[in-house]
Amino acid sequence: MTAMVQAQPLIKAKNLWKKYGNNIVLERLNISVNAGEFITMVGTSGCGKSTFLKMLLGMEEPTSGELLLDGKPIPNEPDQSRGIVFQQYSVFPHLTVLENVIIAREFEHSPLLGKLFGSKKKNVVEEAKALLDSVGLTPAINKYPHELSGGMKQRLAIAQALIRQPRILLLDEPFGALDPGIRADMHQLILKLWREHNLTVFMVTHDLSEGFYLGTRLWVFDKLRRDPHAPEAFGASITYDLPVTRRPAEVREIDVLEEIKATEIKL
């Protein structure tokens, strides 16, 4: 079983290019990601890391080359196999915290209206409450997003992204707008959820230390070639692919226990 999983990477890019007209954003991208990795992506603005995230999400399609999920071309529109947390605007302002989470199950079980009633609703409410509890939002379940702090909003966005149990979680600078202290709490939360839900995480960040701290693998996006007279002529690629010391295998065995103990004490 393990051998098979390793033989078939979860995500694979083969000679991937992305161009907008003459502007080459990404070029010659070749990567392979196994299930359970935590990839952090850093690089200067406009270096294509967000474009790559959008391709993983299905909002952008490769100009040439292949991007494969389980060996098949990645679906070309967003769906429940890949969850996303944006820096902002990704919770629904007209729904309470609880409604924001159960809406995902309502989409699933009520194909026409996307709304559940009665006992069916009761079941998903229980599930949503448990999930909200695991991100620490129990006291706020009946509040609207505008009543929440920035950190709580992101906790909600994460809970929302996890309820459909996606295999891949995409994070687009999710903690960029938060205060440093709150950011540290969020780091513990995301590591805990990553392990509990067996997620493969792709995270775009501006913060290199955050990238090293959270990831099992750090990618640096940069241009391999530069033409000072035509900055758009060459695209970026992954110039460094660094395994970070907390590899999944180790984490699973030793670090996990310590981490969990640490977070438990904290909580």
């Binding site: 909002m59 967003p78 194909p111 209206l113 459909r164």
Partner: protein, 272 residues
């Protein structure tokens, strides 16, 4: 002494300052009316409040000698019926087209240019066509309101639809939502309070089209009445009717605002 731009009146003085213009206008009216009536007791231009009260008493509480109807209430009922019908149909049409053009690119492509052109046609210029096509009945008057108001609502709702952050729409898709579910659960609930404010803004032109249509071809209605009695220079009817129309407009606007605040509290508490 602070700069003028930094001086803010206290709450009671704001109230007083707000009432002041009304008091002044009424005072000036009473003085002018008295002066004119003193010169000529049959003057029609500036009737006294007593005269106006008497006229409205006759219109509202005495049955008409000719038809046996209470004209004031019949006029109000006819006008409000036309207005509500017109604005209601315009709101439904405008909301549907605005939502679909804003949310669905395939619908946007063929409809949006048409919508832009239609909203530029002056509705009053279409009134003769409406009378020819729909006859002089209710339908033409309602149609004028619809044609005048629906494109404005549609364009406003389209703009609001496009303002909803794309992140939310993508998020909904990653939660497994279909196009219909995104419309029903993400777009429509967030656009309903926008529709209410859109209707509030277009009610002014709704009244304009209503009164214009009634003035030209009608046998009852508030607009019909004031244009009818203009022939006899009956300011004692026109002025109370104008005040009554203004009051109705104010009450409708207030009710819409309260409805919106009650049903969409999240919208009014600074969440967009």
């Amino acid at each position: 002494m602070k700069r003028l731009i930094n001086l803010t009146p206290t709450k009671p003085s704001r109230w007083l300052l707000g009432i002041l213009p009304f008091v002044l206008i009424i005072l000036i009216y009473i003085i002018s009316s008295d002066a004119r009536l003193l010169e000529n007791s049959t003057d029609k231009l500036l009737p006294s409040f007593g005269q106006m009260g008497e006229t409205i008493h006759n219109y509202a509480l005495e049955p008409s000698k000719r038809t046996g109807e209470y004209l004031f209430w019949v006029d109000t009922y006819s006008s409000l019926k036309r207005l509500f019908l017109g604005i209601g149909i315009a709101a439904i049409l405008g909301f549907t087209f605005g939502l679909l053009t804003g949310a669905i690119p395939t619908f946007h492509a063929p409809v949006s240019p048409l919508l832009t052109i239609i909203s530029l046609v002056p509705p009053m210029a279409l009134l003769p066509i409406l009378f020819i096509v729909f006859g002089l009945d209710e339908l033409a008057k309602v149609a004028l309101i619809v044609i005048g108001v629906a494109p404005c609502i549609a364009r406003d709702i389209q703009r609001c639809t496009l303002e909803i952050p794309q992140e939310q729409i993508i998020k909904a898709q990653t939660l497994g939502a279909s196009s219909l579910q995104v419309l029903l659960r993400v777009y429509i609930p967030q656009l309903l309070p926008r529709l209410i404010s859109s209707v509030r803004l277009t009610l002014g032109s709704g009244w304009l089209f209503l009164i214009a249509a009634e003035a030209i071809a009608s046998t009852d209605g508030l607009g019909y009445r004031i244009f009818l009695v203009r022939r006899y220079m009956s300011m004692d009817v026109i002025l109370p009717y104008v005040i009554w129309i203004t009051l109705l407009a104010f009450v409708i606007d207030w009710l819409l605002l309260k409805t919106s605040q009650k049903c969409f509290a999240w919208h009014h508490q600074g969440a967009h």
